[in-house]
């Protein structure tokens, strides 16, 4: 589904990504973790072309992201993305947030788009809030709406960029529950997150990044039981023992 081959990216002389390669198969859930500044958010943003990269290749569902001939909008419409800061559209109601891209990008009728949006809103447990505006919802609720908005496009895979990092602690679980459910239904997912409990529960593989490199890319059992690199051991020790 997603093939990342030898991707490198730099800002001037600073290398953000160095020779990163991995694959995500259909139905797999991959957790990407690592210290801040390790390039994990940049890597996931390269997958749908939000960040350009200088060398290497990324193939999503058979389409090359870096190819200038690729219709990126068309590809992105099929790849769902959830952001750290939710990025709901504050000047639109929740219903319109859910419907707008379905109508403008996929060409669905308003009725169809609203219907689909409300079904997904119900799925994330927020049906009663359809008429409200994003500013009237809590962070956790906004992030669940953002997930529903991405799902409304019938994505072939989902990218999560630190979806719980901007949330108050008591709201983290409501978002992780939605993500867990999604994973169990077989959605292909790539998640940048520090939530190791989530990784243990649902991930197939864990990728550990440091200084722009993929340092570990292991099945989750192997990663948690016995991380090979010293850097990953230190990271896990810090993140798990407090």
């Amino acid at each position: 589904m997603i093939q990342i081959s030898n991707v490198s990216k730099s800002y001037g002389t600073f290398d953000v990504l160095k020779d990163c390669s991995t694959t995500v198969s259909k139905g797999e859930v991959i957790v990407v973790c690592g210290p801040s500044g390790s390039g994990k958010s940049t890597l996931i943003k390269c997958v749908n072309g939000l960040e350009p990269f200088q060398s290497g290749e990324i193939i999503v569902n058979g389409i090359s992201v870096g190819d200038p001939k690729t219709n990126l909008s068309k590809l992105r419409a099929r790849v769902g993305m959830v952001f750290q800061n939710f990025e709901l559209f504050p000047h639109m109601s929740i219903t319109d947030n859910l419907a707008i891209a379905q109508m403008k990008v996929l060409g669905r009728s308003r009725d169809e788009a609203v219907d689909k949006g409300l079904k997904l809103l119900d799925r994330v447990g927020l049906k009663a809030h359809a008429h409200k505006f994003p500013g009237q919802l809590s962070g956790g609720q906004q992030q669940r709406v953002a997930i529903a908005r991405a799902l409304a496009m019938d994505p072939i895979c989902m990218l999560f960029d630190e979806p719980t990092s901007a949330l108050d602690p008591e709201m983290v679980n409501e978002v992780l529950d939605v993500m867990t459910e999604l994973a169990q239904e077989g959605m292909t997912m790539m998640c940048v997150t520090h939530e190791m409990g989530f990784a243990r529960r649902v991930a197939n593989r864990v990728i550990f990044m440091d200084h722009g490199r993929i340092v570990e890319d292991d099945a989750k059992e192997a990663f948690f039981a016995n991380p090979r690199s010293e850097r990953a051991q230190q990271f896990l020790a810090k993140i798990l023992h407090h």
Binding site: F83, E87, R149
Partner: protein, 226 residues
């Protein structure tokens, strides 16, 4: 001691009202064109396409670096000839209003584009990323998401600029056009009561503009209580 004599005002009111209509017409047209053309200029200036951003930067810097009176005079002298030829009008057709409007609109667009550019930049970058991630193209993202938020943030500034513009319309006197200020001047000159007429015109400008800016401040408090 100078004796004030206000007696020429009542009879001149219809003529002054006609002048006021011209002032308002110029203001309204310049605001509309200024916002539309200003928005395009702002988008060009923020564009990653070099020739577009250079053109917009040049345009804005040029118009912001020359006095409005001079621009109006240029347009007063050049535009009528140009339009006469373009539309095959008989020479001597009165195009003063048209050229004043064009001059104002083009000049004010430069100021509006700077306001709008700041407004666009005030919308968080993540909003554009979210639009792109949903598959929207640049035009859709701007029209549906970025500009509506930008304009909402800018409304007080746009209105304030419109009030300034209304005051600036008095500068069309250089083309002897009878806007409100020009009309007041003409009446005062005719009746030998220039001081009274100019005081009266000043008072009218003050009342209108002060009332409008008070209204803008109220609006601002209501929608952005900070």
């Amino acid at each position: 001691m100078y004796e004030f004599d206000w007696s020429s005002i009542p009879g001149a009111l219809p003529f002054l009202w006609d002048g006021m209509k011209i002032s308002l017409e110029i203001t309204l047209l310049s605001v509309v064109v200024g916002i539309v053309w200003g928005t395009l200029l702002a988008m060009m200036r923020l564009s990653s396409i070099k020739p577009l951003s250079l053109f917009a930067a040049g345009y804005v810097n040029l118009f912001r670096a020359v006095p409005l009176v001079m621009v109006l005079l240029w347009f007063f002298l050049i535009v009528p000839k140009f339009i006469e030829q373009l539309f095959n009008l008989p020479p001597g057709t009165d195009l003063r209003l048209t050229s004043a409007m064009i001059g104002f609109a083009l000049f004010e667009s430069a100021y509006y584009s700077e306001i709008i550019r700041a407004g666009i930049q005030s919308v968080p970058k993540g909003q554009m990323a979210a639009c792109q991630a949903l598959g929207m193209n640049y035009t859709q993202s701007m029209r549906l998401v970025i500009l509506p938020q930008a304009f909402r943030n800018m409304i007080p500034l746009l209105l304030t600029q419109a009030i300034i513009l209304f005051q600036d319309t008095s500068l069309v006197y250089v083309s002897a056009l009878a806007d409100f200020f020009g009309a007041a001047y003409k009446v005062g000159d005719r009746d030998g009561r220039l001081v009274e007429m100019l005081l009266f015109a000043g008072a009218v400008y003050f009342v209108l503009c002060f009332a409008a800016s008070t209204l803008v401040k109220r609006l601002q408090k209501k929608y952005h209580p900070a």
